[in-house]
Point group: C2
């Protein structure tokens, strides 16, 4: 078959969709996604990434600077955000309508995101009342491809004394998620930073309004992304 006659815009394969998502996450802060980081996140060998990168840049989904890394083009970014929308709507639907807990949804959504039709995604979004956040607090991109960019501080960096709303939990690891849920540390919770031990020590917080203390080690604290709340306090209701 003549290459010129081949479909100019074939649908993306599931591999390509996953590559675009991880490139989005790795280059989100404006930088380049490195080959080895992409390889690690997708659990493939670095040469596999080099090969895929060649194809993706030929099709105009990414920009490749050899030995530096890659970034998404506008087209690639649109495709990535479409996948992220699907993934997060699926996660929320599975928790809200099918009894999944937030530690178990990720793996299921990782598969389903490639199989659902646009129609099904939008039907689930409707059934959920067009939600803005997934079960982990991550913002759901709109169908038009816009995504909320919140300025959040990690609990590991938040100064003592601050009152915070926990907004996002930055892991998909189900053991960590289950532990955090057991501690009552889920998106939407209010807390104040009561102290922090030196030398990368744990952070102690007090839940609001109960006042219950929680001691959070640095590894987990780095995963807890928070929004500062005015101390007089109706920030959560205003969200």
């Amino acid at each position: 078959m003549n290459a010129l006659l081949r479909d100019a815009n074939p649908p993306l394969t599931r591999s390509v969709e996953d590559y675009l998502k991880v490139i989005y996450h790795l280059s989100n802060q404006g930088g380049f996604a490195a080959t080895s980081d992409i390889a690690a996140m997708l659990d493939v060998a670095p040469p596999s990434v080099s090969g895929m990168v060649k194809r993706l840049s030929e099709t105009g989904l990414i920009e490749h600077v050899p030995y530096r890394g890659v970034q998404l083009t506008a087209q690639g970014r649109r495709a990535a955000l479409r996948m992220i929308r699907r993934h997060r709507i699926l996660e929320l639907y599975l928790t809200q309508h099918l009894g999944y807990d937030w530690g178990g949804v990720h793996a299921e959504a990782e598969q389903l995101e490639h199989a659902v039709s646009d129609e099904l995604v939008e039907r689930m979004a409707s059934a959920l009342g067009h939600p803005l956040y997934d079960p982990h607090g991550d913002p759901i991109p709109t169908a038009a491809g816009e995504i909320e960019e919140a300025e959040l501080v990690s609990l590991a960096d938040a100064p003592v004394g601050l009152k915070l709303e926990l907004r996002q939990v930055g892991t998909q690891d189900s053991a960590r998620l289950h532990y955090l849920a057991g501690q009552g540390l889920t998106p939407g919770v209010l807390l104040t930073v009561s102290e922090r031990q030196p030398f990368n020590g744990p952070t102690t917080v007090a839940l609001v309004p109960s006042g219950d203390p929680r001691v959070v080690g640095r590894e987990l604290a780095q995963l807890l992304w928070c929004r500062e709340v005015p101390v007089d306090g109706y920030g959560a209701a205003a969200r």
Copy 2:
């Protein structure tokens, strides 16, 4: 990599899963599924089927008699029924919980059946109350791999005068399904055969209890599979 060290039981690919399903449907009545019929149903070229048939028989999923066709082994049959269970539960879930109509579910389920986990399938089955039939009236295999074998007559062959319950609609074509639904011809409906024109002519039925007449051409009548109902009449309630 040494072939002997490769995974002895790799998960089935989506292609393999679809081949097994169509072989099941084509060889259901005990016969052999022909290469060209498999090719037509999967919309691939016959040599592609020959190649796949070789691999599937090497892995013990089918039995191949060259130039005759193929049949499923016990293992292949189990795999096929597992896919059919997934497909039918998905179809029913999409219609019952997400507002799909019965003409639109098939294509969606055809993709999702390969992506859902066993856990998700069983959660959907629970949410549906462990249903026995899909939206088209087809029986849903159990998780253990058993399937109801009903003796049904096609409306095209049913003798005049008989009282019938419409049980299954044997097509996935959405135009035909929409038309039939518009005529009130959906699984569970009761009807009596009032007359049939000769020379492959249409069959006229009366809906029960309304008595409304419906004239059904031979092509559609052949798709309507019915169960005979005792004339005194509580068959439907006993189902």
